[in-house]
Subunit: 438 residues, 2 copies
């Protein structure tokens, strides 16, 4: 497709309007107004739309119905807070072009992507491609989608479909990234409290130390190298030859990675070993540990309480709920006296690179970007993709078509995109639809 001047102006106009809406979910500002704006926008573009209540912020649903197979497109209309405001060089809610970059809160993650996809499909619709789509725009992604599971469960008939395109999709240099899945997640909290106040450490012979109790529990679950939760590794799906080849192709610049993460060392040496770990290794990571005194100098106490937060990155077909049960079993067997809480669970997803969705996405990317996309078998992080694949039995799911690049600073001050990437994402959506419905 070529983007006409009219379409260019119209899509930029819409994007700018949308970016002006301060839909901060953490602050609950402007949420209903933004949902209404989106509903009206969809209607203006000839797409049936409605606002549906959830147990949290409202969800905007748009539908294009034809007799063809159906694609679910997931995005969100809420944004991160703009703080710290004094680090912005522009007004975060008054979009501004500087050179070729458009600056505004959420332009990269994800309002630019939402609009680009919408415009691409609007154009496909005008060109009479027999597309069948459900747009699902939630208003709580930036606060962890606490009500999405309930919403999906109770709206199965409306948001059912054959394929799913999640939020996400960035560019590495000029190469678009296509994720054929996501890692899962199990997030737990371990805590132990001995009483109402700290105790002098001279009582250590007779009073339990809660930090040590948590350390013993953690040591029962992982020795720092291997994860020792019973059955932890047993459901891991073997990699196919195609997937191994995809991993081999992943571009790795170790020095650049260290610099951008701000770390002095990486655990892996060599690009292949790095990529293989990043995408296929399940993890046991301590997000936080807090107990007692940790300021300057020394204080001799038995802390009254200790708490640790731990996330486990899961790969297909590990099951967070079954792993959680095995954690409880293991901690029980070592007589852990504290409390275990599950703070989050996401199922991992990995879609075949050979399916219709993957192939149309990869081939359309090559057509539009004129370069081989970066393909990853599943993202190293997580997204609520598993909710769709499990509750709606959607087999093919990818995370692709996005407008952000390595300079986009999502969630940070001075978020921006290269405006060319906005138009490329419109084209990519359009070409993908054409190939998928070929």
């Amino acid at each position: 497709m070529e983007i006409s001047n009219d379409l260019r102006d119209r899509s930029l106009g819409i994007l700018n309007e949308f970016l002006r809406l301060e839909s901060v979910s953490a602050g609950n500002s402007c949420i209903n107004e933004t949902a209404s704006y989106l509903k009206d926008l969809l209607n203006d573009l000839g797409i049936n739309s409605e606002i549906r209540r959830s147990t949290g912020n409202p969800v905007v649903i748009g539908r294009i119905d034809s007799r063809s197979r159906r694609i679910i497109i997931y995005n969100h209309y809420d944004v991160q807070p703009a703080d710290p405001l004094d680090e912005w060089k522009t007004d975060p809610f008054n979009p501004m072009m500087i050179g070729k970059r458009l600056y505004a809160r959420d332009v990269s993650d994800n309002k630019g992507t939402l609009i680009a996809r919408l415009i691409g499909i609007y154009q496909a619709l005008k060109d009479k491609i027999p597309v069948s789509t459900t747009f699902l725009y939630e208003g709580e992604e930036e606060i962890g989608s606490p009500n999405l599971e309930n919403f999906i469960k109770s709206n199965k008939n409306i948001i059912n479909g054959d394929s799913l395109i999640m939020e996400g999709g960035t560019l590495m240099g000029s190469r678009p990234v296509i994720s054929l899945g996501v890692k899962g997640l199990l997030y737990i909290e371990l805590s132990y409290e001995i009483g109402s106040s700290d105790v002098h450490s001279s009582m250590a012979p007779v009073v339990e130390n809660p930090a040590m109790e948590i350390i013993k529990a953690i040591s029962a679950l992982s020795d720092g190298t291997d994860i020792t939760i019973p059955g932890f590794y047993k459901d891991i799906r073997n990699l196919t030859e195609d997937e191994i080849n995809i991993i081999k192709e992943y571009p790795v610049d170790m020095e650049n990675i260290k610099r951008s993460l701000g770390v002095d060392n990486l655990k892996k040496e060599g690009s292949y070993e790095y990529a293989m770990s990043l995408f296929t290794e399940p993890t046991f990571n301590i997000d936080g540990f807090s107990s007692g005194y940790s300021s300057k100098g020394s204080k001799t106490i038995i802390p009254k309480r200790a708490v640790a937060k731990i996330d486990m990155g899961l790969v297909p077909d590990q099951d967070p709920n079954s792993i959680y049960r095995n954690i409880l079993y293991k901690l029980d067997s070592v007589h852990f006296k504290g409390t275990v809480k599950m703070l989050g669970a996401e199922y991992p997803v990995r879609t075949s690179p050979d399916g219709d969705l993957s192939r149309a996405m990869i081939e359309s990317a090559e057509t539009v970007y004129k370069i081989r996309p970066v393909i990853i078998i599943n993202s190293p992080g997580t997204q609520p993709m598993g909710l769709f694949t499990r509750y709606l039995k959607i087999k093919d799911a990818v995370s692709a078509i996005g407008v952000g690049d390595e300079h986009s600073r999502a969630h940070a001050p001075n978020e921006s995109i290269d405006i060319d990437n906005f138009f490329l994402a419109i084209k990519h959506t359009y070409e993908f639809i054409k190939m998928y419905y070929h």
Copy 2:
């Protein structure tokens, strides 16, 4: 001895004056004024005195010289801050009697004790007992005596002696407590930093987790039951039959202990097992552990840093410096990548219950209090007693003669003593001197 009305009035007058001086070492207020007050007070009582510089706050030294053997008496003239002020029912620096209790900051720990001992010895001097004493009053006890070691090392000729009476000595009900020693201490800090900022936990397959690195190090040193530092237990001195009998006599009320500590459980059941652990078991106690995120909900990060503070309570003849070397050796052998720092070291001390000092102290307590004192072979906590026994080769050291009881609230708002215990401590000092120089 009987305390005359004159002596009673004079000693109360001195105590009240002394308590009015706001000698908060943490705030560095009124320190020099209080040192001068003490020097003048000693001179007024006929005791040679001087203020000696240290690398920190000045030290007040008083000397009574005769040809007899010499007792060192250690106390401090600095006090804890009075915060939180709004929890006091009286002015902490304007002493006030309510019923039989005198309320003021530091009256229990330890200005009341300092004055009672001083008056007792002043009276012995007047009664021509051939006492030979060095009073050492430091001004930094409440901030951890950071300069005491240096002071002792460079003033050996002045503070040498045959026996030592440290600060301390409280009452359990109406029974005075006599500690024939102290536990030692080794305080260390383990820390590990991976870089300049937290990293998203999706990078856990390739980036080290500093909290896990600290947990691995701690697990190499203790399994939560046994301490696995090489040679940790090898220097522990056997208990004598007398010492075992002393432990058996220690009064234990488990329910009361739990209530006063505010803990739900104790590790030991049965009084003897409790007392045996409390006084003779060396410990490995986590005072604090801090890394990453520990507030409400979940945050997926690899923390940039982790730090743990650990104290080890040591019993005779464990050597904190040798144990520290073995910790370094052990952590090296498990390839610990972080940093180890020693934040404190105290040598344990245990004096024979059969020596002249112990016997005079115990017998004089029985004479004055008309009840068997509570004897402990060494306190469960620590004091810098080891500095005197090691650097000055003082063999006999006890911690006894004090004015505080279970209601005294040392370091807390509404610190107080029963004023009868002040006069009993004067008498105890006097009778002890009489017996020791018998």
